[in-house]
């Protein structure tokens, strides 16, 4: 019987994936590469670029329509009865593969402390970048008065 996939303590699977998909490309590649040696034999199911169609909801009538397609890189791997999956924006097959390997390592319960530390650092960097952007946006707030 195959064991259930694991997640990091304090994280949901969705949170892990959100952070991995936005993680810095050079850092996730550097983090994922040494994981390979200690994982069971890996089967690469998919590693390709492709398109994701992005629909939007119209606020006038509520209709769903297609905005256009986004180029993504995808990787899908399996090992030890678990799957790892990566999908990231832009044309970078290595970064997508790195994401899939980290996802796989977490699912197998491999190197949980290192994975948690990596995800925490990336989540912090992403949150700080968003805050910095939004502080600049807030600087453009206007209040209007009628005279």
């Amino acid at each position: 019987m195959t064991a259930l996939p694991q997640t990091l303590s304090g994280w949901t699977h969705a949170q892990q994936l959100d952070v991995l998909a936005r993680a810095d490309a050079a850092r996730i590649k550097a983090f994922a590469e040494p994981l390979i040696a200690d994982l069971p034999e890996i089967t690469v199911i998919e590693n390709r670029t492709g398109l994701v169609m992005l629909p939007m909801r119209d606020t006038a009538q509520g209709t769903h329509f297609h905005l256009g397609e986004v180029l993504v890189s995808e990787a899908h791997v399996s090992a030890g009865g678990q799957e790892g999956y990566g999908m990231r924006r832009v044309r970078d097959l290595e970064a997508a593969m790195a994401m899939a390997l980290v996802d796989l390592a977490i699912a197998l319960g491999h190197a949980p402390e290192a994975c948690a530390a990596f995800l925490s650092n990336e989540a912090r960097a992403q949150s700080e970048a968003d805050t910095e952007t939004l502080r600049k946006v807030e600087a453009t707030r206007v209040d209007m008065e009628t005279f």
Partner: protein, 354 residues
């Protein structure tokens, strides 16, 4: 039926392409990176019209075509056909947008307030000619506020619906591959709303502006006021093989609602596109607002504006007229000469009086 053969065509075509490319010189990774970094709004425009979001590919298309926008968009649309469609993401909602700019010209006190975001709306337009004299033009840095703006902002339209000003939007249960797609099925009239909005999302900016402007100047049935304009980033929410939904990253989107009075309520026109391009979405939303009941042949009639703002088809049709039409044109000349000869013959020998 006749044909005209061209001698030396292959060599001439090859040399003409070399001549076109010679003006641009080498295309290097550094040039592509510089175009991407220095011209984000041009990149956005090209991505929106190409209906393909990737800044690197858009920058490469611009570098390869020397900035000939129709060629750049065509190149990207052609490249797109080489890629498999892996998934259809979850629909983006207005409330879920990571918002950089959000303004309303209709209501000053919208829920969440107004943030100008990146804009040159209130700037003096002064060309920085000192750069041509060897100086560097360094923009002043933004002075960030102490606290961040909320990443997500409520919907003005939903607030209006709650206050009885608008009929609320009806939830659409169509998702994934069931959403009508003009890249996979023909555009027929009257068009499905999903086709109309998708066509406007990928329409050529100048064409949309020309027809939207015509409607705004009075050749339409409704006068638009911007209800809400947003420049934002949308999450691409996809599904992991285990069923977990997650964001594969963000893309820039623009969205506009325009509003007009209808009876004792308001009605909305809507448009959105990939990338930040607010002229396009305001003009497109104006066309959407005016489409209902527009007379046949008016710039605001759906068939008219959807057919005439498709940039790849319209530019392709336009430039095909410069290709050899020798046989058909010769045929027109023959008919013209024949008519002239018949007229001359008639004038020479008038019919006898009865």
């Amino acid at each position: 039926m006749a044909y005209v053969a061209t001698r030396g065509g292959e060599r001439a075509i090859e040399q003409s392409q070399r001549l076109f490319k010679a003006e641009m010189g080498e295309i290097t990774p550094e040039r592509v990176a510089e175009i991407r970094a220095a011209m984000p709004y041009l990149i956005d425009r090209v991505m929106g019209e190409a209906s393909l979001y990737d800044e690197d590919l858009a920058a490469l298309a611009l570098a390869q075509t020397g900035g000939e926008l129709y060629e750049a968009v065509l190149l990207l649309r052609a490249w797109r056909t080489t890629q498999p469609r892996i998934a259809v993401a979850e629909p983006v909602t207005q409330e879920g947008l990571f918002t950089h700019r959000r303004i309303s010209a209709a209501f000053k006190d919208i829920p969440g307030g107004q943030v100008l975001g990146p804009t040159m709306d209130y700037a003096h337009r002064i060309l920085a000619t000192e750069v041509l004299d060897g100086q560097v033009h360094r923009p002043d840095p933004v002075e960030p506020a102490a606290r961040p703006s909320p990443a997500r902002q409520p919907s003005v339209a939903a607030w209006q619906a709650e206050n009885g000003l608008l009929t609320g939007a009806v939830p659409d249960k169509t998702v994934g591959n069931d959403i009508p797609d003009v890249t996979r099925e023909p555009l027929l009239f009257p068009a499905k709303r999903a086709h109309t909005l998708q066509s406007l999302a990928r329409a050529e900016t100048g064409g949309v502006l020309a027809l939207g402007y015509a409607a705004q100047r009075g050749y339409g049935q409704a006068h638009p006021t911007v209800n809400e304009l947003r420049l934002a980033e949308a999450e691409i929410v996809v599904t992991h093989p285990r069923g977990t939904q997650f964001s594969a990253g963000r893309v820039k989107v623009s969205q506009a609602e325009v509003v007009d009075k209808k009876g004792d309520g308001l009605r909305l026109g809507f448009a959105a596109t990939l990338g930040w391009n607010e002229v396009k979405v305001i003009a497109a939303a104006t066309l959407d607002l005016n489409a209902e009941g527009a007379p046949k042949g008016a710039p605001t009639e759906e068939e008219f504006f959807l057919y005439h703002t498709e940039g790849v088809e319209s530019s392709g049709f336009c430039i095909h007229f410069k290709l050899p039409h020798y046989v058909t044109f010769q045929s027109s000349l023959d008919a013209m000469r024949d008519a002239k000869a018949q007229k001359a013959a008639k004038e020479k020998s008038p019919e006898p009086a009865e």
